[in-house]
């Protein structure tokens, strides 16, 4: 593996404090995820791709933007990998480059009036820089 490919793994480790090398690929994270059927790559696959240094495939996937931060995967992981933190670190890699995932101006006005602040604030915190 070339050194360049290790970069994301190191960055993730720095932002999340998680050592992904302990993952044994049991897949309980994917099996526990209430939103997994919406994801293009499952949480287990995401970890494996990062382990393999396939940075682009992970960063271009939509899975980290589907994550609900419900912490079910973390609660069930036998290796206690906090996948929600991993998702946050991956989002941060994008967001810190100024690459917002949503545009606030594109939320329909009718929805804007209906949505409680708690939904808007949490969504903007997760999906904008």
């Amino acid at each position: 593996m070339v050194l360049e490919d290790r970069k994301l793994l190191e960055k993730i480790k720095e932002l999340s404090g998680i050592d992904l090398s302990v993952c044994m690929q049991c897949g309980i994270c994917s099996g526990s995820c209430p939103a997994v059927d919406q994801m293009d790559i499952t949480p287990r696959m995401m970890v494996r791709l990062i382990q393999l240094g396939r940075e682009k495939e992970v960063l271009d996937s939509k899975a980290m933007w589907i994550c609900l931060s419900c912490f079910t995967c973390y609660a069930r992981c036998p290796r206690e990998i906090d996948f929600a933190k991993l998702g946050e670190a991956l989002r941060q890699v994008r967001l810190r480059k100024g690459l917002d995932y949503i545009r606030i101006s594109e939320i329909p006005e009718e929805e804007f009036k209906k949505l409680p602040q708690i939904a808007l604030v949490s969504c903007f915190r997760k999906f904008t820089s």
Partner: protein
């Protein structure tokens, strides 16, 4: 008993029904929840990146307000702050732990705040209202105050995520919580156990993926119906929105779906205490619970 209370943004608007019912029910139980002066938004979600200190400022500022309440004598030797909203509870409690477990982080934050604020000492404890009911007041005392037992109501407690996960902040056993069950039993209701009581409602995805949230709500509410419950109880304004208001979207995707009322646990407490309509604010619930209540209670 006077104890500092952090409301959070949504309790002043669409979740006013959560606030008014909780404050008045607390009074009945001899507790005055004293709102923090100059509180600010907690940020709704805990910032999980290890190097992100700037987003801890908002929650920590609120904890400094609690310190000040003690210094000014607004409360006496009360280092706890009560939170009603599950998301605010999770954010404040995790931020508090994050700065408490590392002196360097706390120092950096205090240095940043030093021109305008007193430093945060790290002595405040964040608790949820349900913990106060369970540990300080006790469900026996709650039961004593019940004037109108909810005896014909079959209720499914719904915890969602943020009262129970991650485990280090959980208010109860994260696998098999009982606090809502015990409260509802004290109010005289029949508690119905459901499979998805700790499953996520879809959270913030309700802003840009409401169809996904509608499907999650559909699954959760169907389980509630299969279990034979008449209604659902929650503590979180975002769970409330996703399970209650989003039933409009559920109906669009599944025209056969029949709506089911969702309550805040405090609304049912106020109801059992017979405090009067102005403290229930059922007008803020999307699915009108009155037909069910007039059938079962009145």
């Amino acid at each position: 008993m006077k104890i500092p209370y952090y409301p959070g943004c949504t309790l002043k608007t669409s979740a006013k029904n959560l606030e008014v019912s909780a404050l008045e029910s607390a009074k009945v139980l001899g507790v005055e929840l004293v709102e923090l002066p100059r509180w600010n938004c907690c940020g709704a979600v805990f910032s999980m990146a290890t190097d992100d200190l700037i987003h801890q400022l908002a929650p920590i500022r609120n904890l400094i307000r609690v310190q000040e309440m003690n210094e000014k004598g607004i409360v006496e030797n009360e280092n706890r702050v009560v939170v009603l909203c599950s998301m605010c509870f999770n954010t404040l409690k995790r931020s508090n732990m994050f700065v408490k477990e590392d002196k360097e982080r706390l120092e950096k934050i205090n240095n940043f705040l030093s021109d305008t604020e007193e430093p945060y000492q790290g002595n405040i404890e964040v608790i949820h209202f349900l913990e106060l009911l369970k540990n300080d007041i006790g469900f026996d005392r709650v039961a004593e105050k019940v004037k109108k037992p909810l005896k014909n109501l079959k209720i499914a407690p719904y915890y969602g995520c943020l009262l129970l996960r991650p485990e280090e902040i959980a208010i109860d056993n994260p696998q098999s919580p009982k606090v809502l069950e015990n409260l509802l039993e004290a109010l005289g209701a029949t508690v119905v156990d459901t499979q998805f009581k700790t499953r996520c409602c879809g959270s913030y995805q309700t802003v840009n993926r409401k169809e996904l949230v509608a499907e999650l709500a559909y699954d959760i509410l169907n389980q509630v119906k299969i279990s034979g419950a008449d209604c659902v109880v929650t503590s979180c304004p975002l769970c409330m929105f996703n399970l209650d208001t989003r039933q409009e979207e559920v109906k669009k995707a599944h025209p056969e779906f029949k709506t089911i009322p969702v309550f805040y646990f405090t609304q049912l407490m106020a109801l059992a205490f017979d405090l009067g309509e102005s403290f229930y604010r059922f007008d803020l619930n999307y699915v009108n619970p009155k037909p069910l209540l007039s059938e079962k209670i009145f």
